[in-house]
Amino acid sequence: MLDFLQRLGQWTLKGLKRLGRANIFMVYVLGGIPLCVRRFRLVITQLFAVGVLSILIIFVSGLFVGMVLGLQGYNTLVDFGAEESLGVLVALSLVRELGPVVSALLFAGRAGSALTAEIGLMKATEQLSAMEMMAVDPLHRVIAPRLLAGIIAMPLLAAIFSAIGVFGGYLVGVVMLGVDDGSFWAQMEASVDIREDILNGVIKSVVFGVAVTWIAVFEGYDTLPTSEGIGRATTRTVVNSSLAVLAFDFILTALMFNK
């Protein structure tokens, strides 16, 4: 019994310690943001890695999610003779939920894992220590640009996802199934609100961007400097950031769309 309590205590303390380390780490990294703004080239290189290289998967999944929404929505709505509302259904579910959430999950798998592995390997091969020896702060030089790039890239990716998804819904709904073109767009325009829906979606994706990139760079920086440790850190990044995205999504939805 006491053993069990001890283990529980150990586990809790370890978790809290990690959380504390992650926060201190974040404060140091934020101190490196001014450097990034001055040397924006560092951020651009990272934007290429996390943003441009993620476009393909975002594009394809956005298109397919939109098309599936179009099909499923049509099949349900046609029973009520309300297939003109298909545009509303597709646009609202994409802009409010699926766009930010699915692209954040993909982003965690595509870019977050790569960030963790990269930084973990830098640590394992003592590149980070070497930088410190040269009086270059790795938190400012390596981590901060990656964090900033992740936070910039995420809302853009989510917006691309939503726009492509709406187009996919249009393809299936209007071109394939023959929903009226005009009422598809008109009803969508009438019920999607710029502040309520689109701005809130963007806020969501920014929050997810911070969460995913923060977890990714911290796991990389905090990894055991062995090949096994890097593997485990990468797995943890994907699992933890996906869970964080889903949890934040629930909280944000409750705060934003609760009337």
């Binding site: 290429f48 853009l156 689109i198």
Partner: protein, 159 residues
């Protein structure tokens, strides 16, 4: 150096695509273009029952949207609902004796205020009130009225 230039161009294209997607969402998907709620004048109307009218519901005249409901309040003395409508500046010649009615778009759709022009020369200004109002049609009332009259009619024919 050439490699870096390529990266920069691709990143530029990425940011451009993201911003473009946001603009498409804002312009095409949402209703940014009409009635941002900025410029307009306020007109009040008191209703006995506003039904399911909500803030930001459209205000229409002859079926054309001319404004939005800005605020819904309650008058503590007359026990009436007060709806404040923000009407676009462009429509500044609405007669003073205009009537306001609450209609439903479709059978179960959202409710909106419909204005029907009167004949007076003076036009509504900021802060004015509309006096002629009629209430929202509450579906339950209509159904119960219908059932009552039906029942009464059946009684008459039966006896």
């Amino acid at each position: 150096m050439l490699e870096y230039r390529k990266i920069e161009i691709l990143v530029g294209a990425f940011v451009f695509a993201g911003l473009l997607a946001l603009t498409i969402l804002a312009m095409k998907v949402s209703n940014l273009t009409d009635f941002g709620g900025g410029d307009g004048y306020d007109v009040k109307a008191k209703f006995d029952n506003i039904g399911g009218l909500k803030v930001r519901a459209p205000v229409k005249m002859a079926g054309v949207q001319i404004g939005r409901v800005a605020e819904i309040g309650f008058d503590n003395e007359t026990f009436q609902a007060v709806a404040v409508m923000k009407i676009d500046r462009k429509f500044d010649a609405i007669p003073k004796d205009t009537a306001a009615k609450i209609y439903t778009a479709g059978l179960l759709g959202e409710q909106y205020i419909s204005l029907e022009a009167g004949g007076e020369e003076d036009s509504l200004k900021d802060g004015d009130s509309i006096i002629l109002t009629s209430n929202a049609v509450v579906l339950e009332q209509v159904i119960s009225q219908f059932l009552y009259s039906k029942a009464a009619g059946d009684d008459k024919s039966g006896s």
